[in-house]
Symmetry: C2
Amino acid sequence: MTHKEKLSEIRKQMQQDNVQAYIIPSADPHISEYLPNHYKCIPFTSGFTGSAGTLVITQDFAGLWTDSRYFEQGEEQLKGSGFTLVKQKVQAYPEYIPWLADRLSAGDTVASDEKLLSLMLGTILTEKLSVKGIEVRSKDYLSPIWENRTPLPTEAAFLIEDDFNGQSVNAKLAAVRESLNTYAAQYHLISSLDDIAWLFNIRGKDVSYNPVTLAFALISQDHANLYINPAKLTAEEKETLLKSGVEVYNYDEIENALSRLPENSSIFIDPKRNCFAYAKLIPASARIVKETNPSTILKAIKNETELSNTRNTMVKDGIAITRFLKWLMENIGKTPITELSAAAKLREYREQQEGFSGDSFTTISAYRAHGALPHYSASEESDAELKPESLYLVDSGGQYFYGTTDITRTLPLGPTTEEEEIDYTLVLKGMIEGCKTRFPKGTCGYQIDAITRNPLWAHGRNYGHGTGHGVGYFLNVHEGPQAFNPTNNPIAMELGMITSIEPGIYRPGKHGIRIENLVNTVTDISTEFNDFYAFETLTLAPIHTGILRKDLLEQSQLDWLNEYHTKVYEKLSPFLKEEEKQWLKNETRAI
Amino acid sequence: MTHKEKLSEIRKQMQQDNVQAYIIPSADPHISEYLPNHYKCIPFTSGFTGSAGTLVITQDFAGLWTDSRYFEQGEEQLKGSGFTLVKQKVQAYPEYIPWLADRLSAGDTVASDEKLLSLMLGTILTEKLSVKGIEVRSKDYLSPIWENRTPLPTEAAFLIEDDFNGQSVNAKLAAVRESLNTYAAQYHLISSLDDIAWLFNIRGKDVSYNPVTLAFALISQDHANLYINPAKLTAEEKETLLKSGVEVYNYDEIENALSRLPENSSIFIDPKRNCFAYAKLIPASARIVKETNPSTILKAIKNETELSNTRNTMVKDGIAITRFLKWLMENIGKTPITELSAAAKLREYREQQEGFSGDSFTTISAYRAHGALPHYSASEESDAELKPESLYLVDSGGQYFYGTTDITRTLPLGPTTEEEEIDYTLVLKGMIEGCKTRFPKGTCGYQIDAITRNPLWAHGRNYGHGTGHGVGYFLNVHEGPQAFNPTNNPIAMELGMITSIEPGIYRPGKHGIRIENLVNTVTDISTEFNDFYAFETLTLAPIHTGILRKDLLEQSQLDWLNEYHTKVYEKLSPFLKEEEKQWLKNETRAI
């Protein structure tokens, strides 16, 4: 079936049910960012493969709502699909809801598969539309037309020994239960796969890049029930879980468990990380506590074992990056290299590292104008040849036992323009300002974001994405609750949080620049004014200095850069061959 | 009656009504910051005169909840009152609510005069306590025991000609009505006195410092009703108002007007700026739109007339400040000067200026350790003599026809310590960073706040108050919706907003430093990345440079300071006598 035919089939079902609009979000019942193939509903329906977007279908319009990261890709992929690109102003804001409220009339019905709506989104949708007399209903119009739909993944899960996590499942459950007590909540539904992976010290291979396994959990003071395809676990693993008080049930049984909760019970549900359909299964008499998952906050604060393992992982990743950069600089203009072949080479160097288990996201290997697309992913069609001029951007990361990395470097492959050099210097200036900031306990991500952007603003430049995101421990490369971005997310930076700092400058049609390190929040000084925190830079890899405009950097920023490079050389050189050492020595020399 | 006797009388009434806790907030039915004497309930009950706090009384405890600005003053003033100081962690957060929820039991009752609770506070109180089965009730236990309570003020109000406001009442009403349409609201209750002053181009003298008059307003598409003591307006003024479609009713009639709203009507009420009691008068069938008053946002964005008048006012105020600083520097150590006499002198210089109508708040004239109390107000008892050493801080402002000022300067009266000089330099460094920031359209106050604090954080210093607040136009010196502070208030800086930038460093027992200018948001450059805004500094007065540690300032910061001083001299000198000119020339010389 073509996308147009699918659209027509969906519209037929809508007509039969007297449904005026159908919404297809990018999600699964775990409200995941990376989806199992089974839930790739938007690519199936429209052909669009970006990671963020929503399809909305009426009888006379079909649109993909997505943000500026995907405007070009959307235009391209939607051609001939019957879907029109609708440009969202604000990333992740459901701008199609006011659109629907404007166009539909009292008595109309909007449908969607409510397993794919977060509780929060479902609540907003219902609130905003019910005011206008519009009904919201759950319908799955894709399954009936989806031939040979990929079944749910059945990859084996695996347990990680407590020693490698620094905290036992028992201890983690105790911490979560303490939080539940604070909110006087008897039950706690967890649907988010990274929370489950962390809490049960379990990992899997059910989706790309995120080492998670499909499961739900229902926790009370006496029980910790894990709902998972039992074939994913060996008898021994089930035994180990049981020793920590974790009982294993079938994946689908979560629905019954929720429906059968006692009347008048209280249940803790994170509205952003559970689906609307499951929240509706809970008896109406229940009191629902809607707060961020306790495990999300506990998980973000890495313990000493996790930090120490991550530091070792950074050495391994740094060696791979160093070898890759050396190879690239030495071969550019001599051997044919494309975006895809460069990415493959980087993967090759990472695979040589002990404990490497895969990429933590699709490598962004972007030459010249491709670099201006912050989420560019090279394909066979787009694959550009790297030439000995202008800038090349590579944003990549690895999943290691044990630790997750995410690093961006931009480098000149030959002669560069003045604009490229000034932009490059300002991006680095911003990154250094972020990395070297001292800030009082209680400081939130939006404050770090402003400090990082300030040097770019001073020169009339800016970037459309956040400055940084939380990073998991052998888990999702994007994790909350903290983030560095301009929105007013009131999460304070806590000791042990790992976050990226990655400002950029993008000039469509010309070049894109981004430089990214991961940092850990550490104690700095205590004064009569407050306890101050600072960032420990975890990422270890040279930052190109050849095209820097030194006059744009302050002495304190140059000092930071030189100290960072000294550390990079000290940490990486013991593991390098002599000629690699020489190369790194030169790349990290003081300027 | 002593405070202890009053407390005992309140407790008797509580017992009779079976009320377990009584709350006395610092507010009036307009949710004002500065209260008419009639509503000074906290000073009456406890003796505490600070501008922020809440009394909570149970049978076995009586406490004043207030924030760090008032810890010392609270301890002092509550002695022997029967009230205990309870230190709030977060300014303005009602921390007594969880305290009450913890201590009371299901079936208990909490009472307060609900005319003194904002709709927001009343809603939170009711929500948090009703979960625990605690009832919330409206009771006034003060009137029965308050002998000779000051009646409501009856000062005449006065109208300001449209020409001086740059916008007619008609045009303002049209703008507010447009907002009501957006929210499909038929009615709009306004209780906040500054909103009413702005909307009706009316001013008054009912409270100290804020040139407002006691009134309510109820707006619909057809009517604009002003509820005010009719004796405050002349027949001519009523006629003028009527010509703009404004009908005048008795102040008390607002209660009837609200009770008699048609069933199923829709009404727009700002939950922070209307009282809980009046919101409860509205028929239960009404749909209530809870958003920030449209007039609050419209008022914050000054028009060209207001800006141009404010610029003229700044010249007048700058002349007064210049004369005061010159007088102080020339007389210190020669004539006896105290905090109070210095404040009186400053007032004298301001009174010489055409259009001066009074102070915009109590002058903070604070020597040495007194400067470390950010809200210090000198009294006969505390009045310290100024000596030719250490630092003196003066934070003051004037209400002028037409314009409101607010300025802080800190200066050495003689030899200073290294710590004082470094602190002084860092405060100025922060202020300059704030003032010279270029930022993209859409930037919120919390981002400017972080940029201003960053230079202080770098040296392990910080301040416990916000970086700045909105300032009215011949109106309240504190006005919203914008503010520069670390909380996540998502209000973007708009062109024409006047805001203060006033970082500080406070060392209890030693010294306090604050430097404050008012700035206007103006367009700067437009690039392919965004439209960028900047600040036009409005305040015109020399900033002391003698004790600056130049090595702590960057060249761009020195440049800003020198340019600012050039402007100060250019704008003020034409109005100064020759010897004043000479003095200012020297004070503003480039460094």
